[in-house]
Symmetry: C2
Subunit: 340 residues, 2 copies
């Protein structure tokens, strides 16, 4: 049986291209004692992986050139040498290799129950993106009923969940996303109060233009800003924050492909005059509370209070392209690669 | 008896000048029923007053042109129509007019006990600056023994207290200030581990140069950054923060005279990769805990664990000049005007 894997061929400079990835033939590994053999079903591509392709310190070590890339994967156990899993089990792992078949230690795998929801949700609304929205918004953003919450990257895997949780908490929610399809989805499907496109006919709206639109949508100012994007979109929101506002730095997709640290509007004056908070986080710091998050998200999903969107690309070899598409905003909701 | 008062003559553009202030003769007011007549002894000039000279929203309404300026003042009660105070009492108020004599409602005055410490300390180490350092550092910065704390504006009224509290908490403390006299004071008098001057022979060191010096002084990175200055000094510290660092935005003296919002290094990436916090605050949000703060600061002072410096300018008419001197860093410790 033939195996295939995707390695980092070179570190991207700027926006990643196909040439940064190499698809290789390999042998299906034989699982050792205690290991399981997995058949990959779905691969999650995530913006944060761009950071791992860069050298230098971050919250997670960089990929080495030549290394098989790892990310969130849903797989089927096809052979087990562990008492933890049996063949046929569906599992999810957050750091599994981009491989058709992989032999791994099973300790960090979670079982996925297909009777609860489609198994792809383990990579999205019931996985890391859902938990990221849940803990980032509730634990740092602390939205109160009646407050205004702005979400950038609102139509992405994390943003869609953040928008809906903010609505469930009784907030006025303004989503910023790119293009009509996403704007319509946010307002018509997810019940976001106002959705604003950062795209203009000629490209991107200026920060000043965007600021005017956000100001109109937020007549009482912005109490919580859940930021997935950074850059000029943040410049537009910062001047609108209220006293004691909370800014959740969840992601900075506009900056991940920059080779230099960016200059831009200094946020310190806005934080000072508003006694406001800006906080970065990484979802794994909430690992001990993942159970709570998954239970609550699952309950909302079962009650129909939480919807989700997935953009599914077919074919293992299209994984790099699906990843690259994140940076041009090609995905609505969670971007997933269907392998099988 | 002649009275004098200082009014805002015009809004400063950039660095304030004498022409922005007007000293006027007036009559000594007659206190109404319930009021007290004060004789001003000491006036506090504070960087934050610059913000009030500007139009526009901040945490406190702007001064109007023509209005008598108000700030922290220590005064003697010379006539009382209130049961709260009697003639001869020494009092402090945070929002008293720049006037030789003032008739005011006494409810917001605090009695100053000259037997505890010199009465000027009610404007410094035992007043707003001390409380600002106390609550900002302990409540937001949360320094832990063994951690590294960097303080900018370290030789100012707030910075000197922040440095010493951080030392009392068992931290390695690095102070950033301007010039040899301040550097010597920080290391030799206050026990700061390393003091760094932001000044060079030709003016100010570059952010890169400063970053190298701070990096050398902080081999384990910066756990807490207590920022009184902002701008390029912050650019030098930001890249050095550790995982879960806390950045306390206490003041931004480098930016108060800027007419435009500043661009500079975006801090969001550093907050994201370090799960770090940046928080602005204003000391009055801790008003209900001022008693606790004053007690603790007074105890440290009595035990000789807390020192303070004052720069005292004599003469009411020199109040504007003392205020302007804050922005060129002429003060060591608390800048006070002695009126009598």
């Amino acid at each position: 049986m033939q195996n295939r894997e995707i390695r980092l061929a070179s570190r991207p400079i700027g926006v990643p291209t196909e040439s940064n990835f190499e698809i290789r033939q390999s042998d299906v590994p034989a699982p050792a004692e205690g290991e399981v053999l997995l058949r990959t079903l779905y691969i999650s591509v995530d913006p944060y992986l761009r950071g791992r392709m860069r050298e230098g310190r971050s919250y997670i070590p960089p990929f080495e050139v030549g290394q098989v890339i790892v990310s969130g994967v849903v797989a089927e156990v096809v052979e087990s040498h562990s008492p933890l899993f049996k063949p046929g089990d569906i599992v999810m792992g957050g750091l599994l290799p981009w491989q058709l078949h992989a032999a791994v230690r099973p300790e960090s795998l979670q079982k996925v129950d297909p009777s609860i929801a489609p198994i792809t949700t383990a990579l999205g609304v019931l996985g890391m993106p859902g938990l990221t929205a849940y803990f980032g918004l509730l634990d740092i953003g602390k939205p109160q009923a009646g407050e205004t919450v702005v979400v950038s990257g609102a139509a992405g895997a994390v943003g869609t969940v953040a928008c809906q949780i903010a609505k469930l908490k009784g907030c006025r929610v303004v989503g910023i996303a790119g293009g009509k399809e996403k704007i319509d989805y946010l307002t018509k499907e997810l019940g976001v109060d106002t959705a604003i496109s950062y795209k203009s006919e000629s490209g991107h709206k200026s920060a000043a233009e965007l600021q005017r639109e956000v100001a109109t949508a937020c007549p009482k100012g912005v109490n919580v800003y859940f930021d997935n994007v950074g850059g000029e979109i943040s410049d537009a929101v910062l001047p609108l924050i209220t006293n004691r506002a909370r800014i959740v730095i969840c992601g900075l997709i506009s900056m991940y492909n920059k080779e230099q640290l960016e200059v831009g509007l200094r946020p310190q004056p806005f934080l000072l005059i508003n006694s406001a908070l800006m906080q970065g986080f990484i979802v794994t710091q909430y690992a001990l509370r993942f159970g709570e998050g998954i239970r609550q998200l699952g309950e909302w999903l079962a009650q129909g209070k939480l919807k989700y969107a997935e953009t599914i690309v077919e074919g293992f070899e299209n994984t790099p392209r699906a990843f690259m598409g994140l940076f041009s905003g090609e995905n609505l909701g969670k971007q997933i690669v269907k392998v099988a």
